[in-house]
């Protein structure tokens, strides 16, 4: 049975492993044929910044992990407009293709899903 599962990605990458552990869960879920969406919210929007270069701090690239999502047919990526703006980020600075939604749309996105989990 395929479920619509929304993962809310709220953690900035690198400082904490939570962002990465969230992606690991997403990849697992995709391998089991679930219908996954990802919402980058709050500091989670930092996950999709382009030009990440973490080799110098001896960590694996978070962006590289996100870039393989299309191979798993995960293409419903959303980011919250106000959270991007608050952090001074615009769409040209993003490294993956996301749909930018407004805060007021988050509620119905969550409600439309079978299951929700946040990292």
């Amino acid at each position: 049975m395929t479920n619509e599962i929304l993962i809310i990605a709220r953690s900035a990458p690198y400082g904490s492993s939570l962002a990465r552990e969230g992606i690991d869960y997403i990849l697992t879920s995709a391998a089991y044929d679930q219908d996954i969406s990802i919402l980058f919210l709050g500091d989670g929007v930092f996950q999709i910044l382009k030009d990440q270069n973490p080799a110098d701090i001896k960590l694996k690239s978070h962006l590289a992990a996100l870039e393989i999502l299309p191979l798993y047919d995960i293409e419903k990526l959303y980011a919250v407009k106000e959270d991007l703006l608050e952090r001074g980020l615009d769409i040209n600075q993003l490294g993956v293709k996301v749909t930018v939604i407004e805060r007021s749309q988050v509620d119905s996105l969550i409600d439309s899903q079978d299951k929700v989990l946040s990292f």
Partner: protein, 129 residues
């Protein structure tokens, strides 16, 4: 109802593990089913049998074990998150050529597929961080 719990909290650095245990006990008291407790992120430390809390502190490892023994609850520890954090059972200790290990039954190591299974097959998955 069928509940599952996701424990992300470090057992002796955060309160989340104590909250999860209390929630689990209340679930069972109310006649709900506890389908699985999944330990991920820092929560995997809960599975270490080497923890020696002080006498006036709750022994979370022992309390989960007791609860699992009484109610046959699945206590699953994410294997990838656990190995890097030094939580392993006898089999993994052999594979990684370690002389010691710290995870015993009823705790078990398994993949994230078990968390997905819990999320899909429970009515509710509650996260304790």
């Amino acid at each position: 109802m069928k509940f599952s719990l996701l424990v992300l909290a470090s057992p002796y650095s955060q309160q989340g593990g104590l909250s999860a245990l209390q929630f689990a006990k209340t679930c069972l008291d109310q006649g709900h089913q506890l389908y699985r407790v999944f330990f991920y992120h820092e929560g995997v430390q809960t599975a270490s049998a080497l923890q020696c809390p002080q006498r006036d502190e709750v022994n979370l490892h022992d309390q989960w074990k007791e609860l699992a023994d009484q109610h046959s609850i699945d206590l699953v520890t994410c294997i990838a998150a656990a190995l890097k954090r030094g939580i392993l059972d006898e089999g993994e200790a052999k594979r990684y050529e370690k002389d010691h290990f710290n995870l015993n039954k009823p705790f078990e190591l398994s993949g994230l597929g078990q968390l997905l299974d819990a999320q899909i097959n429970s009515d509710q998955l509650i996260t304790f961080a």
